[in-house]
């Protein structure tokens, strides 16, 4: 079965990509993913805020005590190679890109315009096959208007596109009031693809100690539906690449994503739970299902169930909501 796909202009043998997550932290794991047949890997995001924060924290922790006391002008050795910058990430990217045959996609979450641009250039130079711009931002500031936020994001993507030649994907959160319009804007400023969606790390609450617990929770299959819906809408409207990210755990999930219009399917939680070999299983399962159902290729199935082509487009929009609500009322009554 021909599972090949083109994502961000890159030819892939099949759509299954290891998404940004802890499995991409070590070269060993990346090799295991490649061996398991991953079509590409996305490295975990380089967080500018984290780098800056750690740099500042280290600066204060180390330098605040320097030149304060006659017996010691410093308390840690001066080490030339030690720096709080993207070097560690870049080195990992460089080594991964060299060691792996499959494309290595870097991911970036910036905080300052300079940071986005500089880091994007450095990621490209270090061998990233593409860059996923992770627009992770929780807009808690009531003075920040949606239109301003979106304009800033569009401007940023435009600048990054202008600065690098590698393809750019934009990873979005589902919480846009006019996502279809924003997606159009992104395509206009040159984004090569969209990744739907980012998973916000919502902290849990520890009632006993009255503390927040921000440990990571893995995705489950229930998260897929939101992705399918927006893949279905956007694939009917846009020509850029679409990736499904979040909630793909089994063959059927991947299939649904493809049918909704995804060019690639990113997996993280399922691989963390079941190991890289799970990816092989999904790929083979996908192939088997398409064969059994007499598809010619994966491409034939892509977008078959999107807003444009599905038999019941109303189900995508308000009707869907009404229907379910109505059903619920029926149960209640």
């Amino acid at each position: 079965m021909d599972l090949s796909t083109t994502y961000l202009g890159i030819e892939l043998p099949h759509p299954l990509v290891s998404g940004a997550g802890p499995l991409s932290d070590s070269l060993d794991d990346l090799k295991r993913l490649e061996d398991a047949g991953a079509a590409a890997v996305v490295l975990r995001s380089l967080f500018e805020e984290q780098l800056t924060g750690e740099g500042m924290a280290a600066l204060h922790a180390i330098q605040d005590h320097n030149n304060s006391f006659a017996e010691a002008t410093s308390y840690l050795p001066t080490v030339e190679e030690f720096a709080f910058g993207p070097e560690e990430y870049l080195e990992h990217l460089r080594r991964s890109a060299e060691a792996l045959e499959i494309p290595v996609i870097a991911s970036l979450n910036g905080t300052t315009p300079g940071g986005w641009l500089d880091f994007a250039k450095q990621l490209a130079a270090a061998g990233a096959a593409a860059i996923e711009l992770n627009l992770y931002h929780l807009p808690t500031d009531p003075r920040l208007h949606a239109v301003d936020l979106e304009s800033a994001m569009l401007a940023l993507v435009r600048q990054v596109k202008a600065a690098v030649t590698v393809p750019i994907a934009v990873k979005l959160s589902p919480y846009f009031s006019a996502l279809a319009s924003f997606a159009e804007g992104l395509e206009e400023v040159g984004a090569d693809g969209l990744v739907l969606f980012n998973r916000f790390y919502q902290p849990d609450i520890g009632p006993e100690r009255l503390e927040l617990d921000s440990s990571l929770h893995l995705s489950d299959r229930s998260e897929l539906l939101l992705r399918l819906q927006w893949l279905g809408i956007l694939s009917s409207q846009r020509t850029l690449s679409l990736a499904c990210s979040g909630g793909v755990h089994e063959v059927e999930d991947a299939l649904k994503a493809i049918m909704s219009g995804a060019h690639s399917v990113q997996m993280v939680s399922a691989l963390l739970k079941a190991g890289p070999a799970h990816l092989t299983k999904i790929r083979d399962g996908l192939s088997q299902w398409l064969t059994e159902h007499e598809y010619e290729s994966l491409a034939q199935a892509r977008g078959s169930m999107n807003l444009l082509r599905c038999p019941d487009p109303a189900a995508f929009t308000r009707g869907n909501y009404m229907h379910i609500v109505g059903t619920a009322r029926r149960f209640l009554s």
């Binding site: 070590s26 500018e48 780098l51 800056t52 740099g55 500042m56 924290a57 280290a58 600066l59 204060h60 922790a61 180390i62 330098q63 605040d64 005590h65 320097n66 030149n67 304060s68 006391f69 006659a70 017996e71 010691a72 002008t73 410093s74 308390y75 840690l76 050795p77 001066t78 080490v79 030339e80 190679e81 030690f82 720096a83 709080f84 910058g85 070097e87 560690e88 080195e91 990992h92 905080t111 300052t112 300079g114 940071g115 500089d118 009255l210 503390e211």
Partner: protein
Amino acid sequence: MSEPKSQRRMVTVDGNEAVASVAHRTNEVIAIYPITPASPIGEHADAWSAQGRKNIWGEVPSVSELQSEGGAAGAVHGALQAGAVTTTFTASQGLLLMIPNMYKIAGELTSCCIHVAARTIATHALSIFGDHSDVMAARQTGFALLCSANVQEAHDFALIAQAATLKARVPFLHFMDGFRTSHEVAKIEELTDDDLRAMIDDELVRAHRERGLRPERPFIRGTAQNPDTFFQAREACNPFYEACPATVVEAFERFAKLTGREYKLFDYIGHPEAERVIVLMGSGAGAAREAVEHLVAKGEKVGLVIVRLYRPFSLSHMLEALPQSVKSVAVLDRTKEPGSVGEPLYLDVMVALRQAKSRGLRDNEPRVVGGRFGLSSKEFTPRDVRDVLDELSKPEPMDGFSVGIVDDVSHRALPMGEPLCTEPEARVRALFYGLGSDGTVGANKNSIKIIGGETDNHAQGYFVYDSRKAGAITISHLRFGKDPIHSTYLIQEADFVACHQFQFLDKFDLLESMVDGGVFLLNAPFPTDEVWGHLPREAQQAIVDKHLKFYVIDAYGVAAKAGLGVRINTIMQTCFFAISGVLPPDEAIERIKHFIEKTYGKSGQAVVQQNFRAVDAALDHMHQVTPPTEVTATRSRPPIVSVEAPEFVQRVTAVMLAGHGDKLPVSAFPPDGTWPSGTTRWEKRNIGRKIPVWDPKICIQCNHCTLVCPHAAIRAKVYDPSALEGAPASFVSDEMRGSRELKGMRYTLQVAPEDCTGCTLCVDVCPAKDKSNPRHKAIDMAEQAPLREQEGEKFAFFLDLPQIEAKDLPRLDVRHSQLLLPLFEYSGACSGCGETPYIKLVTQLFGDRAIIANATGCSSIYGGNLPTTPYTVDAHGRGPAWSNSLFEDNAEFGYGMRLAVNDQTSQARGLVASLVGELDASFVEALLTADQSDAVGIEAQRERVAMLKSKLGDLKGPQVERLRPLADYLVDKSVWIIGGDGWAYDIGYGGLDHVLGSDANVNILVLDTEVYSNTGGQASKATPLGAVAKFAAAGKTITKKDLGLEAMSYGHVYVARVAFGAKNQQTVRALIEAESYPGPSLVIAYSHCIAHGYDLAHGLEQQKAVVETGIWPLYRFDPRNVAEGKPPLALDSNAPKGSVETYMRAEARFRMVEKMDKLRFASFVTQKQDEARRQRGVYEQLAGITIPQNDSLGTED
């Protein structure tokens, strides 16, 4: 072969780096041990070798840290014997520890050059500062002594000494003055590798190697000789010493040819027909030169002889230097030899001149007098030089005088004349007053590099620090000018003064040294037009009287906006350049930004950009204030200490606190180094910008906050409700809860607002949260300034409340122990210090009967560094009796204390027993059999002893007289031996082990920061695997020594490993058990430290993590359990869980490895995990072992 001068770089470095630069390039083996002020020489060498920098033979020198200077000297001796070109760096006590090997190295005519940053030897007190008492104590070893007087000379002489020793075969000790030269930053011409090659003769290196031990050509060296031969063999070295001066002259000449810098064994400066001459060596030559040249220009016939080569002392060269016209000579020694006819240099010069006369080498014999100057870096200024020369004008000049101090006891000090300014007018002299944490010194070091490196100006920087680790005040003295700078003294007249902390105006007279029309830059947290109104009268007066140009900036405001927190250094630096006119402002700003890149680049571009923004904003926010023509202030600078302070504190301590300690006369000081306890309470430092505020409605009275407070600045008391009478209206109290026995009493938690350093550990540990707003805890941090007065009043009332005593407490757990009075308060330890909570706890539990032996290190500095000290007394006048001997001998020192206590107790008991008859037998019996195992028993015994003393008052006889001063020994004493890991694991380990191997009832508390904290983070054997430290720059590859396990192996030693941030109850329990154990006890206490590289506000979290991960297991090993058939070892922490990786990432000491080498870090993580599991496995097995009792062994019959 000589290098054109143009190829040499001008560099701006301090003396230590100048020496290290040559020593590292001209040696193969370097064995070191940290000691102030020489530590940076070794650190540079280690860092350079770690970077792969090579010596002139193309090899990377091997740099090794030893366990002590004695060890370093042994390694040096061994390496030399085995043929390597070898060196070491040291100072003070370190040099003393090297002396035995120095005799050997010299006796074996070994080419070797060691470098010393000369430092005071501890006598009545320790001092880290500079004088020649250490090198003078080594002058008899057979080493040649070559002295450099400034940074350029330190660089040059390091090479000349190395070159000379290879030829002379006499080993050399090259020294510079500690701090004044070792830490002075100056612009010097750097010697190139070719210069070094030109001076170091490879043939001589080969010859040195040939003399090394080699089995292919074996010989024996280091024999034992007998009366028949030793003497003659010892005399055989004479020709080498006779030839040595000429070898040095030859090296000087070659060096002059190479570089153009000329030196002589004795350099003369002054009038060619001088009549009065000063002879001295070291950095004092700078000040002396300025004064002499100034006086000669005025027509006075005076001169100066600078001694370069002190040993071997060359009579002929000295005579050459000294003009025939000289009638009187003052020889100045920077050391003191009590009881001698005179100090060493004086004696040498005196004898030399007498020999010269008797041998007919000189027509006349000038009158020679000797004097002392500059002990412990005491200022030595042109005024002092002139005072000495004036004294020589007298018909009967004083001999054996001192200069630069007021001696109203033995009246040996020369009278102090008027100040003498000898600096050229064109020179810029700038003073900067800052806090250690605001980065002032770092920025000034950069400013010197900017000016020194980018202009043809000469530049000099010298930095004065106070001895506090928290809220330390720094004063930077910067000089710039076209002429070479010889001013080896602090700035006396400043053209520019910058005050980086507004509150300093209320503490010091910053403007005292300002010249008329100078520039004053002030960081003030007020709008520009309001600043004048906030100044104290004294500051306004100086600004008006001296017609100062007055600039202000709210640097903290600018820094906060730029996201820089409290680091105002680049902002103030920008202002300095903008108004000082040293460089064109635009050029200066470009340079500042270049240095920002260099300094902060490692912290990321964002940090760099933040600093750039701050630089740009600085200029917009600095404004000139035109002061009124008259003083308008209604307030004066407040008194330094409260009027309630004792007389001694008012008379002596307050003067030191005001920065005028130099003005105190000899009579102000106790002659034997004995000082009163409890003086920190009089120094109100107000360094905490925020302090904790108590909400009793939420508080559960657990007292965890008071336990973790490093400065005893948050305290709890329980007291009878009636004591609240007269309380200030704002005073808060609550009913005592959670203690049945103390029911009905009132409880107050109170902050000492002016003593709190704002570390936030108390808030971090507080478990009590407001249920509807968990962000609000029982204690929250709030701005100090608005609370200062009110909380101060409350704290004063709190202190006067009755103090509960241990005998009145139902038990000594965390909660109850913290109701006891801390007898260690407001020390100068770092904000958030991880050591001091343990010491404070010891004083709460046992302080009223404790004798403490304290190893040199952080705990001796915050424990005993003047002007104020933290050990204090209770209402009965009882408190810890504390002393510091040395770094290396602390266990033995404390052991000696125990022996003395035992002996005197034994005598007292014998005497009491002998007085049966005169004393009631049952009373004597009660005294001798008293159970003193708890506070009630101790108190009962104290009452008996009081009664005994009263009864003795009525009695007479020799026994009674002997017993009277010994009676207090009938109350048990608690001997504590306290020190850091550098002492316990390394330099003092031999002694520690010996004391553990005894049956002495001593309690040893090791404050384990896993690094030499006080000297700046050098690795010790306590440094854990994977941690970066100086001398372990890539992360330590050997695991930490398990000191506890070693101690357990004796079987009879009580051992505990504790971490108060992880399990405070276990800490309290371990200390109580250790103290009660009647033999040696060892408590190893995890102490978080600034050298770990994170904000100490998270110290307790990291303590929890280090215990949870199993890296620091908690246990108590109590040999008493054996008798009860129980295993002696009890594990107090659980099996390892939690992420070792997360723990390590949170501390820069580990994280740095990850940033350098991810794989290496990963390997360290795995190794540490394995190590934690292995350790746990070992301890679990041990905890399961029950030691068979003698009677359970069974017998055959």
